[in-house]
Amino acid sequence: MRFGEDIAMANQTLISLKAIAEERGIEVERVLDGIKGVSQSWTSRLRPVVRKDDPPEED
């Protein structure tokens, strides 16, 4: 059984973990450096934010 196959996939870049490991070594190393505390990685630099906007008022 397949769910919602195909739909928004047509224009999307496929992500392969094998390809990422082989071809995006610099990005992987950057995250590794962040994990080891050698440098800040994207995830340690960004602070989580929840953004709520006010609700509509009653009549």
Partner: protein, 498 residues
């Protein structure tokens, strides 16, 4: 106005602020690829040190997911929950290596029932099992998990329309014939996907979907049920049946977006996977998004289709700005705390806001204005909807002016943040002229969208206020630090003249 031009990593094209803000088409793909690189890094750390708590069990799950067809993996990994998971994994491993535990991660550890990162790490790594389950469901293959996956529903299954719903603890053993093989209340059984949320203690609900053109969203409130987010309790009354009731409203809103703002619609189609609807009368917010769940947001219903489309544009752009921020910080660390420092008047909120929030508002209301402008120019609006559109065309330019002035007064931008801000400020100036061309001035009658979804004039003593009067009321009431005296005087002049 010259655009700040920066060079992206080698091999990428030169770009400028406007292009980055509005046109760069692959922002979400880059974010997903970056988070997949983080997953590879997490796996490498654990493979290099299999004695880390939870490493062996995780690596078995990773191998299942890594062997998946890239199409199936991409669907799972572009799900909002995947981003949430990998960021927590990176943080917890960083703490293991001696970094301090950030407050948000402490909240996450607490929600897991863990005393700290060391206890949280194996619990968190075990949650990767949900991605292995989702990959098998999407691939249409059976899967026996190396170790059973224990969860307290609801659990959204990433990249699918499915959510495991029920009470108590459910242990998932694997995927069988398109359903889940589970143990619950001492009984082992297969849960098949079901379209109606009928009474079983544990069930596999199929969330409604809406597709318009290339945009396809799943109406799934359960995505927001993640440890530490503290958002789901606010949505607990808005299950699958509630979502299904408003499928038509979401379809109408997407159709309006496609018609009046096709470029934004294309970005929406690429970036947004999940919309969760909640009753407008419940909770203390109207719409919501979080940087930790890219591609998902919450909106309130009932709502007019065009107002809902404006909410979609608004939330889409919050997510887009979160993704842009991954390229570099907007605010210099030498200034005040731009994220937590809720010190400044905002024309959109009663409570003081941080500078980061004001920058977000400036960004998201530019395309909202353009949407109402396009709808107005199409000459198809009538009645109160037309009045509301005119209110928005008159109101937003002045609100943006206040946001620009507040940021000029208080923000310490990085060069990157400054380039984006100056571009937005320039555009805010331009739309002021556009509003005037459309005949939308501060003397326009003020109209609000109410919790019933209906538009109503904003009145005082039986008389409809102008937009200037309504903005002035808000400024007088909420500008506690008297930061916006210049704007108050301008509004007072306008209100006095009308």
């Amino acid at each position: 106005m010259g655009f700040f031009v920066r060079r992206n990593p080698p091999g990428d094209e030169l770009t400028d602020a406007a292009h980055l803000l509005w046109a760069t088409p692959d922002i979400d793909s880059r974010r997903a690829a970056r988070s997949a690189a983080a997953l590879v890094a997490v796996q490498r750390v654990l493979r290099d040190d299999p004695a880390l708590p939870g490493a062996t069990a995780f690596l078995a799950l990773y191998d299942i997911v890594a062997a998946a067809d890239p199409q199936h993996f991409t669907r799972v990994w572009r799900d909002p929950a995947a981003y949430h998971w990998v960021r927590r994994a990176v943080h917890l491993l960083s703490v293991w290596n001696g970094e301090a535990l950030p407050a948000w991660e402490q909240t996450y550890c607490d929600a897991l029932g863990a005393a700290g990162a060391a206890q949280a790490l194996p619990l968190h790594l075990a949650q990767f099992g949900k991605f292995a389950l989702a990959t098998a469901l999407i691939a249409g293959t059976d899967l026996r998990l190396p170790a059973a996956y224990a969860t307290a529903p609801p659990l959204a299954l990433s990249g699918t329309e499915l959510a495991l719903v029920g009470r108590g603890r459910v242990v998932v053993h694997g995927v069988e014939s398109g359903g889940l093989d589970v143990s619950h209340d001492g009984t082992r059984r297969r849960l098949a996907p079901q379209q109606t949320a009928a009474g079983q203690a544990a069930r596999l609900d199929v969330c409604p979907t809406v597709q318009i053109g290339g945009a396809r969203v799943v109406l799934n409130p359960y995505v927001f049920h993640l440890p530490g987010l503290s958002l789901f309790s606010e949505l607990s009354g808005a299950g699958v049946e509630f979502q299904a009731r408003y499928q038509g409203a979401v379809a109408d809103a997407l159709a309006a977006l496609q018609r009046f703002q096709p470029a934004t619609f294309a970005q929406f189609a690429d970036a947004i996977r999940i919309v969760a609807l909640k009753p407008a009368r419940e909770e203390d917010f109207g719409t919501l998004s979080t940087s930790e769940l890219p591609g998902a947001f919450v909106c309130s219903v009932p709502a007019d289709p065009l107002a809902l489309a404006a909410d979609f544009i608004h939330e889409l752009h919050h997510g887009r700005l979160f993704s842009i921020e991954e390229d570099g910080p907007f605010f210099d660390a030498s200034g005040e705390d731009a994220v937590e420092g809720e010190h400044h008047y905002s024309p959109w909120r009663d409570a003081p806001r941080p500078l980061h929030g004001l920058l977000h508002a400036l960004y998201v209301y530019l395309p909202v204005f353009r949407f109402w402008s396009a709808a107005w120019r199409a000459c198809e609006l009538d009645g109160m909807r037309r009045d509301f559109a005119r209110d928005q065309l008159a109101r937003i330019p002045f609100q943006l002016r206040i946001a620009v002035q507040q940021l000029r007064r208080h923000a310490h931008f990085t060069p990157f943040g400054s380039s984006l801000f100056e571009q937005m400020a320039c555009e805010a100036d331009a739309i002021k002229a556009e509003a005037a061309t459309l005949g939308a001035t501060l003397a326009t009658g003020a109209v609000a969208c109410r919790a019933s979804g209906a538009f109503r004039p904003i009145e005082r003593s039986g008389r409809q206020l102008t937009v200037a009067e309504n903005l002035l009321d808000h400024l007088r009431r909420c500008d506690r630090g008297n930061e916006c005296a210049e704007e108050r005087d301008l509004l007072a002049q306008s209100a006095g003249a009308s």
